[in-house]
Amino acid sequence: MSDISSTAKTRSSAGRGGFDIARLLLEGRAFFALIAIIVIFSILSPYYFSVSNFLTMSSHVAIFGFLAIGMLLVILNGGIDLSVGSTLGLCGVVAGWLMQGVTIEAAGVILYPPVWAVVVLTLILGAAVGAVNGVLIAFFKVPAFVATLGVMYVARGIALLMTNGLTFNNLAGKADFGNTGFDWIGFNRIGGVPIGVIILAVLAVAVGLMLARTAFGRWLYASGGNERAAELSGVPVKRVQIAVYMISGACAAIAGLVLSSQLTSAGPTAGTTYELTAIAAVVIGGAALTGGRGTIRGTMLGAFVIGFLSDGLVIIGVSAYWQTVFTGAVIVLAVLLNSIQYKAKPRK
């Protein structure tokens, strides 16, 4: 009798131990994937594993990282934002245009706004584009996919119209006009770390806190998980929805500023298809496209997985075509694992 029960006990605990490892691998998959990528490329290339390379790659990741943070909020809310790539481009172009000086013909003057004003105006523009998305979706009940698809085209078109398809190459400003320093965002470093990466870290921490510790964060998860239940619990679901798209737009504006500063030019086609990379980062980070599930930590890992993978492929000299294939495979694999994780969870 005692024999049987002790065998049963060992067996069940062994079973649970095995299950836990599988569970750990499944839940920490983005993290383990990142470790694997770093290890593999470090073996394949002597240049990969160095602090300076990591920082360079990180500043590439930052661009996608900004978009992915905004995208995470939208996806948590159960939506999607296809317009972020175009918003990035439009915001970059507007920033570039402001740096050239704004001619007001009636007054016969050319205004050269200082860099801080350019940054603020660009952020407001990004949020305004997001607000258009949000209002279309929350009040006019346009499906998120369609609304943001439309705004994606409109924003890209405006960016092209503003420059007539050309690129602003002179973003340096002039000391006489007091508008120098735009390149600071893209080129300066604090303690060796690029400004873009620092902004990303600060933004990630702030959004992480917002999600975990504020009423707004809880509202966001609730309305993404079940909008009707959230509404009946007194959650202002429409306001949350609009706010989410505005934040996403503002994140795209930050990405636009950092990118044009890194490139020292603002082109109207910047950020094309970046929205897809951002969605991929969020999905690789374990968020569910149906809404309500996902974390900022996962999304950041997802962004780093994509960035470190594609930069690694460049470093070891794999063709750009193969990079596309690899990225696609990683995304599909991530979604596959997501569905395994979320299917296993609900019922005990």
Partner: protein, 513 residues
């Protein structure tokens, strides 16, 4: 004659049988080992309250789900259905409560959906149409095979479902609440079809909440309660009272109205409330209704499906817009307030469908409980984990949720405990008026009693309670006043000493039928 299932069913009499069939979802035992006989060429009706396990049993019999244990015997031989199409191939079809037709397609295409008659060049529409016409003739229904299903009345759609089942030569037809949305004349047509089918040797399993109606059609009655069979009998030996007694339990008590205290000030006052149909059909689902509730009073609203109970409550809560009338809470007009503001003012709603409207499945038990009261534990910009934890543990204790703790997944709870979470979530907002739309829907009888006890306790300490139900036995429990709604209006008001017959008659149910 006794209808109790034998260990070895008589093959001449019984076409299909379930023996010791059980089904569990985690800790939730939907069926606890039942025996069930389907009589050849006759109608066997399964009675039972919501959550008794009727639908679970039917899904097992039709192969939609597999039982945890037990055996299905078809024509004397044990069988295990791999899927519903496997069951269908063996002649067992189910017509679900929610029809499974594609409204955008026509009758012919719906009937042959998934089994199109093919030719080398495509689909043989002419042959399909001919067979559809034949089926409609058999059923004596004048429905053109090329009519889009969305243009048919609900009763006709039901006939199309039946035709589809017959087209695969079903010998056993399971109908899950087929009349719940039908008009009286459509019910007549359906019953005629059922009689014709049994005359042709088709065996029918019938489920309905409409007890009197079911009694007119059935040959055998089986009662299911709380996952167990409580009674079997042929039609000629039973009456309505027998069914109710076995459904609800002889000495079952859902409580009595709390007494020994005076009602307080007027809490909620609704005057001439009118709500238009949400679909824009232009008729009033709530038609000039007036109602006053005092603090500490418990009012029950009884009515059939479509009587306007849900719309009334959702409008008062602030989810739907009112077309006319006023709503006063403690003397203050609240019509212009948002739903969130009304919750803040002390008026809240526990919705009818807890999966769709009550719970956020992606969040934990604790996060669901605290969702409506986030402001209570927000300090400045951030929420306080400590205060939230306190609120959660307090609420879990108050409404006696059986859970591993606040971090447990909401899906791990049984239906009754999930319902307590939804109620607890609203009670945590410290309301003065609480409305509950069918709070007992889909929860077992023990949880039901606990929910009512909880409400009675709260009423004693001054909470005004308004709940709706479609079970008469639940009206005659804790309510001080019973209001019967019929077609958007109040058709009668009773005290706690009313009889079931009075209440049902006022709701438009035909007791005499």
């Amino acid at each position: 004659m006794n209808d109790t299932p034998q260990a070895n069913p008589d093959l001449r009499e019984v076409v299909m049988a379930a023996r010791d069939v059980a089904k569990s979802y985690g800790n939730v035992h939907a069926l606890k080992g039942v025996n069930f006989d389907i009589h050849r060429g006759q109608v066997t009706t399964l009675f039972g309250e919501n959550g008794a396990g009727k639908s679970t049993l039917m899904k097992i019999l039709s192969g939609v789900i597999q039982p945890t244990r037990g055996q299905i015997i078809l024509d004397g031989a044990p069988i295990s259905f791999a899927s519903s199409s496997h069951a269908q191939a063996l002649g067992v079809s189910i017509i679900h409560q929610e029809l499974s037709l594609a409204p955008n397609m026509n009758v012919r295409d719906n009937i042959f959906m998934g089994r199109e008659i093919r030719t080398p060049t495509g689909i043989d529409y002419a042959e399909e149409e001919r067979q559809t016409r034949l089926l409609m003739e058999e059923l004596e229904e004048d429905i053109d095979p090329l009519t889009p299903v969305e243009e048919l009345r609900l009763g006709q759609q039901q006939i199309v479902e039946i035709a589809r089942a017959l087209s695969v030569n079903s010998r056993i037809l399971i109908m899950d609440e087929p009349t719940s949305a039908l008009s009286a004349s459509e019910v007549e047509v359906l019953f005629k079809v059922i009689r014709d089918l049994t005359a042709r040797g088709v065996s029918i399993v019938y489920i309905s909440h409409h007890l009197e109606e079911a009694l007119t059609i059935t040959h055998h009655a089986v009662v299911l309660r709380d996952g167990t069979m409580t009674a079997y009998a042929p039609r000629d030996q039973i009456d309505l009272e027998w069914i109710v007694r076995n459904m609800v339990g002889e000495n079952f008590d859902l409580g009595s109205p709390p007494t020994g205290y005076d009602f307080g000030a007027p809490a909620l006052s609704i005057k001439d409330l009118t709500v238009m149909d949400e679909g824009g059909a232009g008729y009033a689902v709530v038609d000039g209704m007036s109602l006053d509730i005092q603090q500490g009073e418990i009012v029950c609203i009884y009515g059939l499906m479509g009587a306007g109970r849900t719309e009334m409550m959702e409008t008062v809560a602030g989810r739907l817009r009112q077309a006319g009338g006023t709503i006063h809470l403690h003397g203050q007009e609240v019509s212009h307030l948002s739903l969130a503001q009304r919750i803040e003012a002390g008026l809240c709603l526990v919705p009818e469908d807890r999966q769709r409207d009550g719970l956020v499945q992606t969040m934990s038990v604790g996060q669901n409980l605290s969702l409506a009261s986030i402001r209570q534990f927000t300090r400045g910009l951030f929420t306080s984990r400590k205060d939230e934890g306190l609120l959660i543990t307090d609420t879990i204790r108050d409404v006696t949720v059986k859970t591993d703790g606040g971090d447990a997944a909401i899906g791990s709870l049984s239906g009754g405990n999930q319902q307590k979470v939804v109620i607890g979530k609203m009670l945590a907002t410290h309301p003065t008026v609480i409305m509950l739309d069918e709070p007992s829907r889909g929860i077992d009888i023990g949880a039901k009693a606990e929910v009512f006890r909880l409400l009675a306790e709260r009423a004693r300490s001054g909470l005004a309670v308004l709940y709706s139900t479609s079970e008469v036995s639940e009206c005659l429990s804790i309510a001080h006043r019973i209001i019967v709604m019929h077609k958007g209006r109040i058709s009668a008001v009773f005290g706690p000493d009313a009889t079931k017959e009075q209440i049902m008659a006022a709701s438009g149910e035909s007791v005499a039928a």
